[in-house]
Symmetry: C2
Subunit: 214 residues, 2 copies
């Protein structure tokens, strides 16, 4: 855990997002938008196995600026989901690099099926966690040692923050900003993004794979 | 306008997003997430003045795959906002390239201060449009010939769709998907993204620069 609130730190909060082929765009850039709105109070990097451009599941490519083996104990490590997770859960080289990186990180936050990758590292053993509700059966199959929560917008257990699908990562990130800075800072960030923040981690309109939009 | 609904087309809907230094991450990747969830029904490209990596306002870089001068009449052209717009409104070379590209596009959709760039091309003259409510005074100063709407989540006038700040681009994009495909497709997309869609263009909780989050 971060011992002193980021709000009182002289150094910017370091946020590192993990990219892999087939990552989900909004899982990465929803949370990074919220951290980015904090301006000089955060420093954001993108990491991957190497520095080549990485194509998202939807096609657009982002450019990592840090090799995952060189990530040094960030304040927040962000792990997205996406179609690429389906093969990565069998990629021991990637999982080992992710595991080393997550162990050093002060806070590890996953979005969507990012928690399936994290579950495969063993770091969630014995902990509560959640995942995308439409891929919940697949995600939970990745480890029987995780206490999977079928109804939660996001779950916090120690330094591990895991959120439900895609847009839930934005709600979780705002809660993380409230935790690291304070609630007024998180509310101001949501208002600047013109985003209606679901502040209640237990309010999960998409539990069970349905949806509230109609 | 697109004459046949995209839902009945054999070809994927072509979506091209414009990048420039200092673009706002979520303005681009919120809408592209929604289009991307349509899978083979869309083809997404990123465009810029040249093919070098482009740094967002928050730092992370994306990689264009198409030079703006080579964009050929896409179905949807997406123009984001962001801190970079402040200098781009004076960049005649960029505005000329944007204008040529927007003229050919079947639909032009802007997010946040993207409408300030579009206003500077003259293509919004005599049309209704909106912009980010926190940058509204600056955006509307870019052209007195646009009928600026101070209270609207998004505005549609002919082929021009303009949205309010950042997250409003997601709501507008889902409405655009409903327009191009059908409403059930838009609802399914929102549910897959676990995103609570504000379906009402007139419901603008951030009008006047305040915010509903508290």
């Amino acid at each position: 855990m971060i011992e002193t609130p980021a709000a009182n730190s002289k150094n910017p909060l370091t946020v590192v997002a993990v990219l892999f082929p087939g990552f989900e765009l909004l899982d990465v850039f929803g949370p990074l938008e919220m951290f980015g709105l904090l301006g000089d109070r955060t420093k954001i990097n993108l990491t991957a196995m190497d520095l080549s451009p990485v194509a998202s599941g939807a096609g657009p490519q982002a450019l990592p600026d840090l090799q995952i083996s060189k990530v040094a104990a960030p304040d927040v490590l962000l792990i997205p989901g996406g179609p690429g997770t389906r093969s990565l859960v069998e990629d021991s080289r990637f999982l080992e690099a992710l595991s080393l990186c997550a162990e050093q990180s002060k806070i590890v936050a996953s979005v969507c099926t990012g928690s399936a990758l994290l579950a495969r590292t063993g770091l969630l053993d014995g902990r509560t966690a959640t995942s995308n509700k439409l891929a919940f059966d697949w995600a939970t199959l990745q480890s029987a040692k995780v206490l999977w929560q079928p109804q939660a917008r996001w779950v916090v257990d120690g330094k591990f923050w895991t959120s439900s699908g895609i847009a839930a990562g934005i709600d979780m990130t705002l809660a993380l900003i409230a935790h690291l800075f304070d609630t007024p800072t998180a509310i101001e960030t949501a208002n600047r993004a013109e985003y209606l923040w679901n502040q209640n981690a237990d309010s999960d309109p998409f539990a069970g794979g349905g949806g509230e939009n109609a």
